[in-house]
């Protein structure tokens, strides 16, 4: 009866619509291989989606890519080979983790460059400021004399200074 209900709803179009992310029937029987596939899927972008990995996405393309990843893994590809295969097919756009070549080095280093440059700037500012209050010149003879006079007048009562 429930099955009939499900089918009826399916017919109503209630259950149609985008597919759900990873489907049970997509999964590989070998748990280790499946775990690898999941891990790789999280690093791959669903190209037609807005900022989703193929692991999260409902889009048909993401499903195709998930199946493709699993196919390559079943065929005995290493993780690196699977990624290389996808990049050769779809370009670096598919990688959620940008590579470390060419201009991307700037991308990876920039935050730390901000840190280093900022730190260096702060250090320089500190050094400059540290030296700014010039060492106080020693008291001249007259000043020493004046100080002694003042001190003796008040005979040690500091509060009156």
């Amino acid at each position: 009866m429930h099955r009939a209900l499900l089918l009826a709803l399916l017919a109503l179009g209630l259950l149609a619509g985008p597919l759900h992310a990873v489907q049970p029937d997509e999964m590989l029987p070998d748990a280790a291989q499946e775990a690898r596939a999941r891990q790789l899927s999280k690093e791959l972008r669903c190209m037609v989606c807005q900022n989703q990995s193929i692991d999260d996405s409902d889009a048909p393309l993401a499903k195709d890519l998930r199946l493709l990843v699993r196919e390559r893994i079943k065929a005995g590809d290493s993780d690196g080979q699977v990624m290389d295969f996808l990049v050769s097919r779809y370009g670096e756009f598919v990688l959620l983790r940008p590579t470390l070549h060419g201009a991307n080095i700037v991308l990876w280093l920039a935050p730390f460059l901000v840190l280093v440059v900022g730190g260096a700037g702060l250090w320089l500012a500190y050094r400059r400021r540290g030296s700014r209050p010039a060492p106080t010149a020693p008291l001249s003879n007259e000043e020493e004399e004046k100080l002694r006079r003042v001190l003796s007048e008040n005979s040690g009562d500091v509060t009156k200074l």
Binding site: Q50, N51, V114
Partner: protein, 671 residues
Amino acid sequence: MNPEIGHYALVLALAVAILQTVIPIWGARVGDAALMRVGPALAVAFFGFVSLAFAVLTVAYVQSDFSVLNVVENSHSLKPMLFKITGVWGNHEGSMLLWVLVLALFGAMVALFGSNLPATLKANVLGVQGSVGVAFLLFILLTSNPFIRVMPAPAEGQDLNPVLQDIGLAIHPPLLYLGYVGFSITFAFAVAALIDGRIDAAWARWVRPWALAAWAFLTVGIAMGSYWAYYELGWGGWWFWDPVENASLMPWFAGTALIHSAVVMEKRDALKVWTLLLAILAFSLSLLGTFLVRSGVLTSVHAFATDPTRGVFILGILVFFIGGSLALYALRAPMLRQGGIFAPISREGALVLNNLLLTAAAAAVLIGTLYPLALESWNGAKITVGPPYFNLTVGALMLPVLFAMPFGPLLAWKRGDLAGAAQRLMSALAVGILIALAAAYMQGGGPLLAPLGMGLAAFIVIGAVVDIAERGGIGRVPAATAFARLRGLPRASYGAALAHAGVGVCLFGIIAETSWNAERITGLKIGESFEVGGYELTLARVEPRNGPNYRDLAGVFTIRRGGTEIGTIESSKRLFTARNMPTTEAGIRTFGFSQLYVSLGDELPGGGIGVRAYWKPFVTLIWLGAVIMALGGALSLSDRRLRIGAPKPAKTKPIKDKPASKPDAAPAPAE
């Protein structure tokens, strides 16, 4: 009400904003007190007109006035009343109107409560605030008018995007805007100080509460957005490094740096120029966030505006305000006098380190968000900067911040004693190590990152407790004395400790959820069961339901633990009839701080239904931690010093207790 009244109110608001920009600043320039006094009245009038416009639009939504295009496009007569109201800002035009409304509200608050501000500063602040209003009102009137009519009026509207038909829309955007736009006040203060060419500790005392309030709102706003995405999108994720999320995270980092450097400025009269720059940066990043979200330049999960003319307009606003304020900064900042010298190892030094790392984190998010755009326009290459990049860079920059956090408050101003602080943190460190060991034991192998992270989280939480205990002198002075001292501590001290503890709580949730969560994806027929995270779930029934503007297919699961039934969990797929769009309504049950999360999939070819279930240990701590942070901010905000601008008068003489041995241990009553 007639929509044209709203339109007209916006035009009047624009006129008022123009006056508000020109007259007070002119008055401050020529030293005319009468001209300066016009500012507050104009700011209140500006708020009044924008409120009227907002009210008119709200009425149009409530009455389902389908002669207004904006209502047609985003509402439906069958939509529940709550979503009719929240739908006002669930679209581009309306959300910009809310933005300006919040801006006007803050301007009016400065006008009404800023009676003890120096006259020229107040005039300049209101003027700058007015100029931001002019820019955004022009934007609304020229490119995003919510009051445009449609002829002939359709009989029914197109309904609101179903993902947005949620209580989250009532909470998340207003809070986020209170945060974003709250930084407009600190920005206005910064620019006003630059125009004035004068800045002092009193300035910081004024700016700090605004920065704190904006920061607290932004913190909760981001956390609520995260929770909303978590339960509504049905993927079980709570942070996606989506450009829109990044847009709110950047001002958050800058704002966090700002509330810390403002402390240094207020207490020690140091870091003035830097605090000023942070105030400018925080709002600039808010503007940039507005640009990224509103222009649709980075199409993302949330983007619901894609119109290049708008993008160019906001870009213009962006260039004017960021460029203008930074140019003014470059021109005027060198003239500002620096004060307060300190050693690198000191409270100030710790706060500088915090500022440096937080700013670098904001830069990492900014660079990662904009790099693909820049690269594509440079050589046409399309690449993606996804979560792995942000996790690595922001994570690496946050780690030292988190580790240094308990040390900062234990260091003295001017010159601190790191070894002494470390010694006082021994108990916290011991608890941290204990928790790490316990976590490693429970985990039984696997990556060490999780136990270490949990240990760090515990270290931060206990470190915050140690901070307060040390201020009270617990263990060093008689209990009564310590109690009296604790009572005398300013609320800002408790607020800071609470916020720091919140960071630890949040970190614990993040680490626990990411490393210990369990996931099950399976196909299920009625009566069948599966296990996740030690709970056994059985699909009891699948039933169709009807809502006001949707049809629901709900799967009801019974939950068993150790063979005994402990409740049910309901997950559904919902189809909104007007747009024929499905959404997932994840089933969530909370056990302690952990959650069981069930999301319903599709009918499977072999019979049964796809189910994705998660066990998410300590996941609620992520948002709870953020709420604790914001509560810390609110507690600090309620400090008399910030409200009245003066410390509490000492009723009795501060209790003398070996003041020489720990000069930093009891700074409270004297502050």
